[in-house]
């Protein structure tokens, strides 16, 4: 018998509430909800790579930025409409993610972290210095989006809600399949995975391109939401924000990432004006969760309510 506060009921309720939100919320709340949905996409995608496949990479903030820049620049520089630029940007970001995966096929652990950190810095540098294309440090405005009769903010909100729903469901399905098991196998023991006919290169590439695809979708939506793209949103702090969401929610838990994204977007909004305080808060949360709550907040939910079990577990740590 499904539990009353089980996952299915809670998710259905949350989706209904989010769908009804525009009817009762002011524009600011709607904007924050939109941001939270975008971060849910980012966190779930990053968790597939970090929590499930165990690939420790710093590239996700940069890929988020590449998604935003590509969506914006395809419109501004190539004259495409958003509806052409956005999918093209997602494909482009996914391809970049695959390129980032190439070193991952040879490197692991520390070295992978270093290469992807260098990639992230390089991406920032390109955004800042390739002014002929990227407009440099000042960023650029993106043409406003229209949705026919629907108000632009409302249209974008429902588009984001739809895509978030699709991508979260897709991630949830993936981790319940043989693909999800193969990713966790690669994470837990590469030699054992190979001995079971799991191709390491293929599955690392799958993990990287999935997370890049999610980051690309999030980036495109983000550029449309802000109508503006600039380099500073996609720096290392952005990476820490995403890491925090995944870890606070729960490594290796799709629903944990959704939870983490929702909570931490709230925190970020509350501290919006104080960069130093944001850094301290996210840094402390990241540390505290890793040390005291390594399975994240979702583990508390699982302990207290029935019906939240997930296949596959977080990366191992000592009992």
């Amino acid at each position: 018998m499904p539990a009353l506060a089980g996952r299915r009921n809670v998710v259905v309720l949350a989706v209904l509430a989010l769908a009804a939100l525009p009817a009762m919320a002011n524009p600011y709340i709607l904007y924050v909800a939109n941001i939270a949905l975008i971060y849910a996409i980012l966190a779930v995608g990053l968790n597939l790579l970090l929590g499930y496949a165990g690939q420790f990479a710093f590239a996700n903030a940069a890929l988020f930025g590449i998604g935003a820049y590509a969506t914006g620049l395809f419109q501004v520089r190539l004259g495409l409409s958003f509806w052409a630029a956005f999918p093209a940007a997602v494909v482009f970001t996914t391809l970049v993610g695959l390129v980032v995966a190439l070193p991952a096929l040879r490197l692991s652990g520390l070295y992978l972290a270093l290469v992807t950190l260098a990639f992230a810095q390089l991406t920032q540098w390109v955004m800042l210095n390739w002014e002929r294309v990227t407009f440099g440090a000042g960023g650029f405005r993106v043409p406003p989006l229209t949705f026919g009769a629907l108000a632009p903010a409302l249209g974008l909100y429902y588009l984001t809600l739809l895509l978030t729903g699709l991508l979260v469901a897709a991630a949830w399905n993936t981790v319940r399949s043989g693909v999800g098991r193969a990713l966790v196998a690669v994470r837990d023991s590469e030699v054992a995975a190979e001995s079971l006919a799991i191709d390491l290169a293929r599955h690392k590439a799958i993990a990287f391109s999935l997370s890049a695809l999610y980051a690309g979708v999030a980036g495109g939506l983000y550029s449309a939401l802000l109508s503006f793209v600039a380099p500073e949103g996609f720096d290392l702090f952005q990476m820490v924000v995403q890491f925090s969401m995944v870890v606070v929610g729960g490594l290796g838990s799709v629903w944990g990432s959704v939870l983490g994204a929702g909570l931490l977007v709230g925190l970020q909004e509350a501290l919006r004006a104080f960069k130093g305080a944001q850094e301290i808060a996210f840094g402390l949360l990241l540390m505290a969760c890793i040390i005291f709550l390594p399975d994240g907040l979702i583990s508390l939910v699982k302990r207290r309510a029935r019906g939240w079990d997930e296949p596959l577990r977080a990366p191992d740590r000592p009992a």
Binding site: R176, S177, A182, A185, E194, L196
Partner: protein, 261 residues
Amino acid sequence: MSRLVVRDVSIAFGGVVALDGVDLELAAGEIRGVIGPNGAGKTTLLNVICGINPPDRGAIALDGVPLVGEKPSAIAAHGLGRTFQATQLFRGMTVLENVMTGLHGRLTESVLGAAFRSRRLREAEAAAAARARDVLAFVGMQAFEGRLATELSFGQQRVIEIARALISEPRVLLLDEPAVGLSLNRITEVDALMRRIRDERGVSILLVEHVIRLVMDVSDRITVLSYGRKIAEGGPDEIRADPAVIEAYLGRDLHAGSPAP
């Protein structure tokens, strides 16, 4: 007829020769013991066969299909299963999930199919779970399917690892010290399990083991390695009497079969 043929295989690590011209033929339905003092190259032999360390020289074939140069995952897909000296269960998975993962080579699902949870995928998943339960029943561990792999005892983990390797119906199974650290009772169970794997599932087994008594009891034939070379091969009785083997073990009493350190 030979299932697995290893011909003139050599490999060196940083100038140290770990295997030197080793030949070995594993027949269908055979349990072959591989013994030798520490550092003889036993585990290296398994790693070379399954592709983790490709040999510098020599050829390996499984049912006539050459394996050298293939990725370990491709070699596994040809029908080669293995277990590890330090058990390598996936620590983030339940017992059932671990065993289901062994079916990977047989699942043909696409990432897209997985993401949309197609009907074909759901059916394949259900079938995979059923097969995993069958294999768990075969090794007598069906009661543990929902437990986390890490919660099990050392000996239970080894058996699960064997089940995980068996589910894809390999033709050859490489076992790396399945009895190390086990009690005598457990060793007897492993002995019986190996015979059942051979007799009921038709799997040929290459067994690297330090527990001499187990090797002598279960093996059809035994290969002895020392310093990377094959120094003897034959039935258990021949090996027991072979002066070169006794020399290699230097005073270690083969007949008592005390577990090596």
